[in-house]
């Protein structure tokens, strides 16, 4: 990752609640290079979506970005306000939501919205804008784009709408697109189509993607790099294939081991005991320690970021060693039935 287009440094996002401040994102750092796809993986409440929203400055009270930097091509965009921020958003960095109707206006034709989106940042004629919209739709694999421009969002299927949302995000060839669970609500066959398109777009256009998801399988087949989040912190990073093949953090190992497709049918699944802790009630030190099979006395203190070969990191006192890299089976005896 020589040329990071997006560099997030020690990002902190807090939410004010009745019971006090919650650290939804607690010191998150990562980088994405040109044309790369970063999978930001986590379960519900891990802070992965909030991280995505924070990068674009889409946090609204009672939430606030309490610290850190988001460097887009070297420029910190967390300090930008009003017009400056609007110029960056949509042009240099864009977002794709789980529900494409977050992007699309139900009462306007796709074409009207896309032309407006083009002309929001570029002073071009309606004709040129229309052509760019059409090309963008074609680029994400939408058949007969001219007809689609004339359609209202409700006339399209869910998968088609998501493609339109991706096309809108791509209109200005942004450096980075943040995608928040964009295929979670879609069918497998449609998800497959979109993942294939996104992979191709990243390679062809050089746009970097931060793909926020809970689905390890999606990340495994789509992403170049992985960041695994737990309770607001990144617990493991590395190249996707390496992390999947030999996870260093016990949480990642537990997640990977509990996927049924990797086991003999009917076999008891290794399971991570307990459930995700509430952010308002996190254990001291490592938040995963109470559920962890490797937890030891040190885990009541904040774990260090351990660095490994190939630039991999794990936030853990007792990371899994590379040569004992059979977490899929080794954990099965250790993880017992849930509470």
């Amino acid at each position: 990752m020589s040329e990071a287009v997006l560099s997030v440094q020690d990002l902190r996002t807090q939410f004010k609640t009745r019971t006090g401040m919650l650290n939804a994102v607690d010191g998150v750092s990562f980088e994405v290079g040109r044309g790369r796809i970063l999978g930001l993986v986590g379960e519900s409440g891990s802070g992965k979506s909030v991280t995505g929203y924070s990068i674009l400055g889409l946090i609204e009270p009672p939430g606030l970005i309490a610290g850190g930097e988001v460097l887009l091509n070297g420029r910190d965009i967390t300090r930008l306000k009003g017009d400056e921020l609007r110029r960056v958003r949509g042009a240099q960095i864009a977002m794709v939501f789980q529900d494409p109707m977050m992007t699309l206006n139900p009462v306007l034709k796709i074409g009207t919205q896309m032309i407006a989106a083009v002309r929001a940042h570029d002073r071009v004629s309606r004709r040129t804008a229309w052509e760019r919209a059409r090309d963008a739709l074609a680029k994400v694999g939408i058949p007969s784009p001219e007809e689609r421009l004339d359609a209202y969002p409700h006339q399209l299927s869910g998968g088609m709408r998501q493609r339109v949302a991706i096309a809108i995000a791509l209109l200005h060839r942004p450096a980075v697109i943040i995608a928040d669970e964009p295929t979670t609500a879609l069918d497998v066959s449609i998800q497959g189509q979109i993942l294939a398109e996104v992979r191709r777009l990243a390679d062809e256009t050089g746009t970097a993607f931060v793909w926020v998801t809970h689905d390890l399988a999606v990340v495994s087949s789509l992403a170049d790099d992985i960041c695994v989040m737990y309770a607001g912190r990144i617990v493991e990073t590395g190249a996707a294939a390496d992390v999947i093949a030999s996870p260093r953090h016990p949480y990642t190992a537990g997640l990977l081991a509990s996927v049924p497709a990797e086991h003999e049918p009917g076999e008891r699944l290794p399971q991570v005991p307990g459930s995700t802790p509430s952010l308002s009630d996190l254990p001291p030190g490592c938040a995963f320690a109470p559920r962890c099979f490797k937890a030891g006395p040190a885990c009541t203190t904040t774990p260090p970021i351990q660095k490994f070969e190939d630039g991999r990191t794990a936030l853990c006192h007792y990371p899994i060693e590379s040569n004992s890299c059979q977490p899929l089976s080794s954990t099965s005896t250790t993880y017992r039935s849930a509470s």
Partner: protein, 297 residues
């Protein structure tokens, strides 16, 4: 997992701490409590029994506020044309108004709730029929409906309550229908039906409790509306008989003297009515705010 077992009490205390967020609503609640308390204790608080004709002295007629009458006590709010102490009359009038309001509100809640619930639960033609009748009724002003009904049924407390209930149940029915239709589609209803739990049990154990919160809000507002509606009818001489005067009849009673400078006979019952209705509405607003599911917690 470490959350304590929830009790009804802890829910109530949660509700109260939410309610306290609005000082206006707390003030309104205190006003309502005071009004209700004074109305209940009217025989003890009021210096005079305004409906005991024998106790009234014509000498005391139309005394200004603050004057001392033949009874030897101060008429803080003056007296009316028959020598009635206005303050005492208001306390007794409040009793009637509150009884009518609460009775009408409660019956309308029960009737409207059941009707709305049935419409939402059974759906189809039953729903279409009920809801069209409700729509039709809601398109008429409640006061008009109540006027016609009182004219038909005659005077008296039961008749008046019946008229008010008929005029107002539609609001409850529509609210219940809306809330219950939304709940009806949820999985827990389907889960209960597929157990199978008998329809009536699903209706009252599952659907009703979940459709209740918006109904409570409507109920508070409708109690206020009932009071105002009753006052209007009584003002027009169509409400309760003069032997059972309410705030409305008191206002009407002093209305003819309003322009001759004896404002107090009408104005003070009017203020009492306004205070009651506004206070109930303020409390209702705050309850609505708290029960709003979209409110951030």
């Amino acid at each position: 997992m470490s959350a304590p077992a929830e009790t009804r009490w802890s829910r109530l205390s949660q509700f109260w701490s939410d309610f306290r967020q609005s000082p206006v609503a707390v003030a309104a609640l205190i006003i309502i409590a005071t009004i209700v308390l004074m109305a209940i204790l009217a025989p003890l608080v009021a210096p005079q029994d305004p409906y005991n004709q024998e106790a009234l002295e014509l000498f005391d007629a139309r005394l200004e506020p603050g004057e001392i009458g033949s009874g030897g006590y101060v008429h803080w709010l003056g007296t009316d044309a028959a020598g009635r102490d206005v303050f005492s009359a208001i306390l007794y009038g409040l009793r009637t108004s509150l009884i009518v309001g609460v009775l009408a509100g409660t019956f309308a809640l029960v009737l409207g709730g059941v009707v709305g619930l049935i419409a939402a639960y059974y759906g189809g033609r039953i729903e279409a029929l009920i809801m069209r009748v409700i729509d039709l009724q809601l398109s008429l002003p409640a006061i008009l409906l109540a006027l016609v009904l009182v004219a038909m049924l005659g005077q008296g407390l039961p008749q008046l309550v019946a008229a008010l209930v008929t005029a107002q149940y539609a609001y409850f029915a529509r609210t219940t229908h809306g809330a219950a239709s939304a709940e009806r589609r949820k999985d827990y209803i389907e889960a209960a039906l597929s157990t199978p739990i008998p329809a009536r049990q699903v209706l009252f154990r599952h659907l009703l409790p979940n459709a209740l919160p918006p109904l409570i809000v409507v109920a508070t507002v409708q109690v206020a509306n009932s009071i105002a509606l009753e006052a209007t009818l009584s003002f027009l001489g169509l409400g309760l008989p003069l032997t059972q005067p309410s705030l409305g009849s008191l206002i009407s009673n002093g209305f003819q003297f309003l322009l001759s400078g004896r404002y107090w006979i009408s104005i003070y019952p009017g203020i009492a009515l306004m205070l009651t209705v506004v206070a109930i509405n303020l409390v209702g607003d705050q309850v609505r705010t708290i029960l709003n599911p979209r409110r951030s917690r």
